[in-house]
């Protein structure tokens, strides 16, 4: 319990850490999602181009 209270600054310390790691995870997820979306968009585009006989 004493570890969590951080000498009375627990709320500040833990919020700062939670936000930091939250944003880092968000950055990872955002990057991955965007890459996947771009990849599949291009794939769809090439496939439909091939199907149209180009």
């Amino acid at each position: 319990m004493e570890l969590l209270s951080m000498g009375g600054y627990g709320a500040y310390v833990w919020t700062a850490y939670a936000l930091t790691f939250g944003v880092v995870l968000l950055c990872v997820a955002q990057g991955r999602r965007r890459h996947r979306r771009v990849f599949s968009d291009l794939r769809t585009r090439f496939r439909s181009a091939v199907e149209r006989g180009k």
Partner: protein
């Protein structure tokens, strides 16, 4: 050396090399950040003035450092792209912007959370360090908005690069703001005359966090630049082969 650089700037080669580097960067970042977080939160002694609130330093300083480092990467890449017309350099600049904006946001917010118990205020308008860091956030927003507003990639590259270079004057202002003007913000701890002013048990986790977050930034940046390269090279044969291999098979 030149052939290496030339090869590196070839998009398909970069695309593969980056994919191979990302796990190493991310892995070592994870190790360093795990050590730094545990040592910083639980093993470093409390500060004699600030008590346990000083532990925010282990996330605040890496975030603040990267907010500026990302801008330096952005501005230098934009400059290289502008002068030598290297498309990959513009892709790096474009990839660095959202990451830099996030780290700037973190630096501002974690600083604010630290400032509340130490200075008695979340925010102080007109404080030079706080204001120049806020301007950095707006520079990132401006850079991204400008890119988004121009459809033609080559034009967006050039226009945003000029903005990025102009905004680079803010970097020394942020760094020296605590020395040039009086600020609530404490003076430099690490990069100062006479070496770091911090005990070793406090210093090692901090260095680990700074290095760890830098490696993490490297991994995130490479990942974003790969996406950027894919978009920019969408008409190239290698991209077509990569995303739609059945066609040639």
């Amino acid at each position: 050396m030149w052939t290496f650089l030339h090869k590196l700037s070839s998009p398909p080669h970069f695309y593969d090399l980056a994919a191979r580097m990302i796990p190493w960067l991310a892995g070592s970042a994870l190790l360093l950040i795990t050590y730094g977080t545990i040592a910083g939160l639980f093993f470093a002694p409390p500060d004699y003035q600030q008590g346990d609130s000083f532990r925010i330093i282990y996330v605040h300083v890496p975030a603040a450092y990267l907010s500026m480092m990302a801008y330096a990467v952005l501005a230098v890449s934009a400059g290289i792209g502008l002068i030598w017309r290297i498309k990959l350099a513009h892709a790096v600049a474009a990839g660095a912007a959202p990451l830099g904006a996030w780290f700037t946001f973190l630096a501002l917010v974690t600083g604010s959370i630290w400032g509340r118990p130490m200075w008695g205020t979340w925010w102080e308008w007109g404080d030079p360090r706080l204001t120049s860091e806020l301007i950095l956030l707006f520079l990132y927003f401006g850079y991204m908005a400008l890119r988004a507003a121009i459809d033609d990639t080559a034009k967006a590259d050039r226009a945003s690069a000029v903005l990025a270079l102009a905004g680079a004057v803010n970097l020394p202002i942020i760094h020296f703001s605590v020395e040039w003007w009086s600020s609530l913000h404490q003076g430099p701890t690490l990069i100062r005359e006479g070496g770091p002013a911090i005990a070793a048990e406090m210093l090692w986790p901090l260095l680990a966090m700074i290095l760890g977050f830098s490696l993490l930034f490297g991994a995130l940046l490479l990942a974003r630049v790969r996406t950027e390269v894919l978009i920019r090279e969408r008409r190239a044969k290698w991209v077509r082969k990569l995303v739609y291999p059945e066609e040639t098979a």
